[in-house]
């Protein structure tokens, strides 16, 4: 029986150049800006969830920003990303706007899903976000499906599935890996290992800390990276995307990171007996944004005052988006039955 060629590992080259200077200055500033935008937007969303102005369930991405920023900047606008229940970061980094985000959080007609989805259902088809879904692992086969379409249409686009460590426990993850590998689909699997699936730590769900081996049985090149190091994420993501775009097939990245807040909602969950305060504090100290900040300052790519000004600008954009969302109407009552089926 004849099997396929040896696997080509796109990540071998990534290990070679690890210094910050390997990523050009403009891009570093862009990564910083994107992460900061995610951070500030979600801190605001957390406040709104606390006061119940935002009523839908909100799964915050705080602490994980480097993954979405690093990956999305390796993509073209038309490349597709599929997200999960925790996708504010994916949405903003892929090009989704603050106004449609905040309006969606409030369930308004001007939201990105026109008030039909809330925080867990973000979409912007104009910039490669076909939709996010909170059903765990559901994003994985759909991203492979987008990749199949790209391959059939020969359009040179790449699809990305974002998903958590928990999602690798679903059968559909493994089923998708089988087909993505055998068909050399242009898809990148980004597993954001934040070490928890809701209340359950990874160690209670997996025998060994070996998620990065997930691609191995299928001969899908895989790597474990520091998901809080945005430059590392970007480098690996670029390699994975090039690998896919050049027709060599899928790859898998385990991005090790941490969600600062609880599984859902704004609470920190210090005292639920789920995780120790020291553990959270350890990860807070490894803030992906602060890490890049220090590098930017050291390289003199930005000054403190540039950062303050940037933060102010972002905060103004957020307040504008919130004001816009607040002024927007709810979807009209007579739209309740619309779009169950396609309307032309």
């Amino acid at each position: 029986m004849l099997f396929h060629d040896e696997m080509i590992d796109p990540f071998q080259a990534c290990q070679a150049f690890a210094s910050a200077s390997a990523v050009d200055a403009d891009l570093q500033v862009r990564l910083y800006t994107l992460m900061l935008k995610c951070r500030r937007a979600e801190e605001r969303a957390a406040e709104l969830a606390e006061t119940r102005e935002v009523g839908c369930p909100v799964h915050l991405y705080l602490g994980q920003e480097a993954v979405s920023a690093g990956v999305c900047t390796a993509l073209k606008t038309e490349d597709q990303v599929f997200g999960t229940h925790r996708s504010h970061g994916h949405f903003l980094c892929k090009g989704g706007g603050l106004r449609p985000l905040f309006a969606e959080l409030l369930g308004k007609a001007t939201g990105c899903a026109r008030g039909r989805g809330g925080s867990m259902h973000l979409i912007d088809t104009s910039c490669g976000i076909p939709g996010t879904t909170p059903i765990v692992a559901a994003s994985i086969p759909m991203a492979a499906g987008a990749a199949l379409a790209n391959k059939m249409k020969k359009n040179g686009l790449v699809a990305v599935a974002f998903f958590g460590d928990g999602a690798t426990e679903e059968g559909v993850f493994h089923e998708t890996m089988v087909m993505a590998a055998i068909w050399d689909l242009p898809v990148v699997f980004i597993c954001e290992n934040n070490f928890y699936a809701s209340h359950l730590p990874l160690k209670d769900r997996r025998k060994r800390d070996n998620l990065a081996d997930a691609g191995k049985p299928y001969s899908i090149p895989s790597a474990r990276i520091d998901g809080n190091n945005v430059l590392e994420v970007h480098r690996y993501a670029r390699a994975a995307v090039e690998h896919a775009r050049s027709g060599r097939g899928p790859s898998f990245l385990e991005c090790r990171t941490y969600r600062w807040r609880g599984h859902v909602g704004p609470a920190w969950e210090w005292n639920l007996g789920i995780r120790k305060r020291e553990e959270v504090e350890e990860w807070l100290a490894r803030c992906p944004i602060r890490a890049l900040e220090q590098q930017l300052l050291a390289q003199k790519l930005m000054r403190e005052e540039d950062m303050t000004a940037l933060r102010q600008k972002i905060d103004e954009e957020i307040e504008d988006a919130l004001a816009f969302a607040r002024q927007s109407p709810y979807p009209a009552m007579d739209t309740l039955l619309r779009h169950v089926y396609v309307e032309r």
Binding site: G55, C56, P57, L106, G107, K108, A113, G115, R116, G117, G118, M120, H121, T133, P134, I135, V136, A137, G166, A167, E169, E170, G171, A197, S198, H199, L200, D204, R205, R206, V264, L272, G273, I274, Y330, P331, M333, L336, L337, V340
Partner: protein
């Protein structure tokens, strides 16, 4: 002296007592140890029985359900919790093709005494994928029993019955009912599966209701009484097997029927009950049957749309007035 207990606490008590009584009973599912996933319905169970019999699983609905089913074939009595019915969709193969069929397929040589608890958890702006009431899926299947308690007493008595039953029983509890209080006996007791109950007698019309709509229908009956209409409220309790006799007897008394169900009307439980009226109950009918169900669309997200979408007492009242021949404004 009535002993008041909430629906959620009654579920926990039933589980506690059954696990105490029978060492083969164990609990498995996502979130059985979680502080938020399953309300208070597993409170204290882990502390009492430990992780050997209270198994919180990885995110793998199909396998965790299949594992429970396999263990049930070999002497265990698992209670499988799916904290949302939406997630239980991933386990349908094991439930529908496997658990439901084995007894018949092997001519009674194997039984699958598994109790599966997919919880309905809707509303709260959770949108279409976290709101579904899919009990009709299960009610369609020969080989499954489908239980939907609406009161705290039944939460306990029917859960105990579901656990003791030698067949696969899908026990569907509803998060909107968890705070409902009722008189619940302290000692273990099993209600009979397949028996409906008249909760309030009336002579003008029968409201045949399922799950949380029983509670809404009781409120509706109060409002109707204020308008001089005497409504009988019947709690279906188990949708498969359906207690046709009790439903028909009620219809025979009143001649008019409103069916209230939290699912969709198309091929839904309400359709089955209406078919009963249209068939064996035809001679009793003095007016067309009205159904209170979801509008024919997925769950919306924003508050005003949710308000319009999920059926409430006012929808039951409006349907009852139509059945009773009283002109009234449609619910807004």
């Amino acid at each position: 002296m009535p002993r008041m207990l909430s629906y959620g606490a009654a579920l926990a008590e039933a589980l506690m007592q059954e696990m105490e009584r029978d060492p083969a009973v164990y609990l498995i599912g996502q979130g059985v140890n979680s502080p938020w996933y399953v309300g208070n319905s597993t409170k204290g169970i882990l502390e009492r029985f430990g992780p050997e019999r209270v198994i919180d699983t990885p995110v793998a609905e199909n396998a965790e359900t299949g594992i429970a089913i396999g263990s049930a074939m070999c002497g265990m009595k698992p209670v499988v919790i799916h904290p949302r019915m939406d997630f239980c969709l991933l386990a349908l193969e094991q439930i529908v093709s496997q658990a439901a069929n084995w007894s018949y397929m092997f001519d009674g040589q194997v039984s699958v005494p598994v109790c599966i608890r997919p919880i309905i958890n809707r509303g709260g702006e959770q949108a279409a994928q976290h709101s579904q009431a899919l009990h009709a899926h299960y009610a369609h299947i020969p080989g499954l029993k489908v239980v939907m308690p609406a009161t705290a007493r039944d939460a306990k008595g029917l859960l105990i019955a579901a656990i003791r039953d030698p067949n696969p029983v899908v026990f569907i509890d509803d998060r909107w009912l968890y705070a409902v209080e009722g008189d619940v006996p302290e000692e273990p007791f099993a209600e009979e599966i397949g028996v409906a109950k008249v909760l309030r007698e009336g002579k003008d019309l029968s409201i045949v209701a399922v799950s949380y709509l029983v509670q809404e229908s009781l409120k509706a009956a109060d409002q109707l009484a204020a308008q001089g209409i005497s409504a009988e409220v019947l709690d279906v309790r188990t949708v498969r097997p359906l207690d046709e006799r009790t439903i028909l007897e009620s219809l025979a008394r009143t001649g008019r029927m409103v069916v209230a169900d939290s699912g969709w009307s198309m091929c839904g439980v309400s359709a089955e009950i209406a078919a009963l009226a249209a068939g064996p109950g035809f001679g009793y009918l003095r007016a067309p049957v009205e159904r209170v169900t979801l509008p024919p669309c997925p769950a919306p997200m924003c508050k005003p749309h949710e308000e319009a979408y999920f059926p409430r007492a006012r929808h039951v009242v409006a349907a009852a007035l139509r059945v009773a021949g009283v002109k009234a404004a449609r619910p807004t």
